[in-house]
C-alpha cells in the first residue's frame, strides 16, 4: 500500500482499485460462484467445505463465515460480489448497508427515507489530533 491515492481520505469508503483487486481476487471469485443455484445450495449446506475450494486467507474466511460485511471489504471484498453472500442469506442491499454503517435496520431505513446520509461532514476523514495544519 505504498502509493497514496487522492480518494484515500474519503471516510468509510473502500475503493476497489488495484490494491484491493490483488488482495481480494479469490474472495470475490468465490462470491461470483454463487451466481449458480447449485453452488448456492452447496455453500449453504457446508460453508467451510465449500470455501476450501478457494484460496482465501484466514481473515477472508473468517469474515465470510461470520458475515462480517465490513470486514470483507477490508480484506479486498468488492460489494457487488460480497452482496451475493447476502442474497444467499435472504438479505437485501439495504440490510447489509445498515450493518456496514453500524446501525439498526430501522435506523438505516429511516435515514434513507429522510433523504439519506448527508454529504456534509462526510467528505473527508477527520484529521488525527496533532496533525492539523
Amino acid at each position: 500500500m505504498s502509493d497514496a491515492k487522492d480518494y484515500d481520505d474519503i471516510p468509510g469508503t473502500y475503493v476497489y482499485d488495484s490494491r484491493r483487486g490483488r488482495e481480494g481476487y479469490a474472495l470475490n471469485m468465490f462470491c461470483m460462484s454463487l451466481n449458480k443455484a447449485e453452488n448456492r445450495a452447496l455453500f449453504k449446506a457446508d460453508p467451510g467445505a465449500y470455501l476450501d475450494r478457494y484460496k482465501l486467507t484466514l481473515e477472508q474466511r473468517r469474515a465470510v463465515l461470520e458475515r462480517d460485511w465490513l470486514g470483507m471489504l477490508k480484506v479486498g471484498g468488492n460489494i457487488y460480489y460480497t452482496i451475493k453472500i447476502a442474497f444467499c442469506d435472504g438479505l437485501t442491499f439495504q440490510d447489509v448497508a445498515g450493518m456496514m454503517s453500524g446501525v439498526s435496520k430501522e435506523t438505516y431505513v429511516n435515514m434513507m427515507l429522510a433523504g439519506g446520509r448527508s454529504v456534509e461532514g462526510n467528505r473527508y476523514k477527520p484529521i488525527p489530533p496533532g496533525e492539523e495544519p
Binding site: 491515492k5 487522492d6 480518494y7 474519503i10 471516510p11 468509510g12 469508503t13 473502500y14 475503493v15 476497489y16 482499485d17 488495484s18 483487486g21 481476487y25 470475490n28 471469485m29 462470491c31 461470483m32 454463487l34 451466481n35 449458480k36 443455484a37 448456492r40 465490513l70 471489504l73 468488492n78 460489494i79 457487488y80 460480489y81 452482496i83 451475493k84 442474497f87 444467499c88 437485501t92 442491499f93 439495504q94 448497508a97 445498515g98 456496514m100 454503517s101 453500524g102 438505516y108 435515514m111 434513507m112 427515507l113 433523504g115 439519506g116 446520509r117 448527508s118 454529504v119 462526510n122 467528505r123
Partner: protein, 282 residues
C-alpha cells in the same frame, strides 16, 4: 439512414426490479417513485423506437474479475436474463439487433474505440431495470436492444470525457447505417449512492440536481468531473454517472429536456429518470 432521436437517463437499482416483479409498486414506499415513471412510459410508447442502445454496467453477472473489458458491445440475437445470485428476474429475454450491433462494433473499433465484442452474454438488472421502468411488464420487449457495457466495478472506470467521445462515435456510426431506423440511447446507473462501508447511504441532492441541469445545458463541462469528485460528492457508486456521458455524447449539442423525475430513496439510491430529445428529429 439510421438516426438517434432521443436519450434516456435512468437509474438501475435492483430493488426497483424486485418491486416490479413482486407487484409492490403501489405500496406507500414505492408509489412516489413509480408514479413518476408513468409519463416516461407514455412518451416512449408514443415514440415507438426501432431499436435501443442501452449503456449500463454488468454487476458481476456476465462479467467477473477474470476479464474486465472497459467497453463492451453485445452483438447476439438474444440475451438471456442473468442469475445475479437470487435467480433470474422473471422478465422476457432481451432481443438483440445483430445487424446494427455488428455495424457499431466494426465502426467503433475503426474509429479508435477498442470495443470488446460479446457473442453470448446474459444481461442483469443494470439493463433490465431501465427496460422495465420505461416499458412496464410486456410479454416481449417492444424493441430490440444493443447492450453496451462500461466497467465501473474495478477502479478506474473510463473517464467522463472518454465516455462522451464514445457516445459521439456511436452517433456517427448510427448515421452511417443504411437502414432507416429510429434509435434511442439509454445511459443508466446513478445517481448519488453509496452501497458500501460505514458511509453507505450517502445521498447528495444538490450534486444530482446540478448534474441533471448540466446534462442538458453544458454536458461538455460535466464530462470533466474527476472520479474522486464523484466518489466524494455522490458516493462511491455515484461514479456510475460516467455512463450517462455516453448517452449525452450520442445526442446533439442542442437537446430538449422533455421529462425529469427524481426521487429519494430507492433502497440506498437517489433514482432519476430524464428524457432528452434531439431537437426536431423525433
Amino acid at each position: 439512414m439510421a438516426r438517434i432521436v432521443a436519450g434516456i437517463a435512468c437509474s438501475h437499482v435492483p430493488a426497483i426490479g424486485v418491486a416490479i416483479d413482486k407487484g409492490t409498486t403501489e405500496t406507500d414506499y414505492w408509489r412516489p417513485l413509480f408514479a413518476g415513471y408513468e409519463p416516461a412510459r407514455e412518451w416512449l410508447a408514443k415514440l415507438a423506437p426501432d431499436v435501443a442502445i442501452i449503456v449500463y454496467n454488468d454487476h458481476a453477472s456476465a462479467l467477473s474479475l477474470e476479464i474486465i473489458p472497459t467497453f463492451l458491445i453485445g452483438v447476439a440475437a438474444e440475451f438471456p436474463i442473468a442469475d445475479e445470485g437470487f435467480g433470474p428476474r422473471p422478465v422476457p429475454a432481451v432481443r438483440g439487433h445483430p445487424d446494427l450491433a455488428w455495424h457499431l462494433a466494426e465502426s467503433l473499433i475503426l474509429d479508435e474505440f477498442d470495443m470488446t465484442i460479446a457473442n453470448e452474454m446474459p444481461v442483469d438488472h443494470g439493463l433490465t431495470v431501465p427496460l422495465s421502468v420505461t416499458c412496464g411488464r410486456p410479454a416481449i420487449w417492444p424493441f430490440p436492444v444493443i447492450p453496451v457495457c462500461v466497467n465501473v466495478v474495478q477502479y478506474p472506470p473510463p473517464t467522463g470525457v472518454r465516455c462522451f467521445k464514445l457516445g459521439q462515435a456511436i452517433a456517427r456510426a448510427v448515421e452511417r447505417f443504411d437502414q432507416d431506423l429510429r434509435v434511442v440511447i439509454y445511459g443508466t446507473g446513478g445517481m448519488s449512492h453509496q452501497l458500501q462501508g460505514e458511509r453507505a447511504g450517502l445521498i447528495n441532492r444538490r450534486f444530482d440536481t446540478a448534474f441533471l441541469d448540466g446534462l442538458t445545458r453544458d454536458p461538455v463541462a460535466l464530462t470533466k468531473i474527476p472520479h474522486t469528485e464523484y466518489m466524494r460528492e455522490a458516493g462511491s457508486e455515484g461514479v456510475e454517472l460516467v455512463m450517462w456521458h455516453v448517452m449525452r455524447g450520442a445526442l446533439r449539442t442542442q437537446v430538449t429536456e422533455v421529462y425529469r423525475h427524481y426521487h429519494v430513496p430507492a433502497s440506498n439510491t437517489a433514482a432519476a429518470l430524464m428524457i432528452l430529445e434531439n431537437e426536431g428529429s423525433s
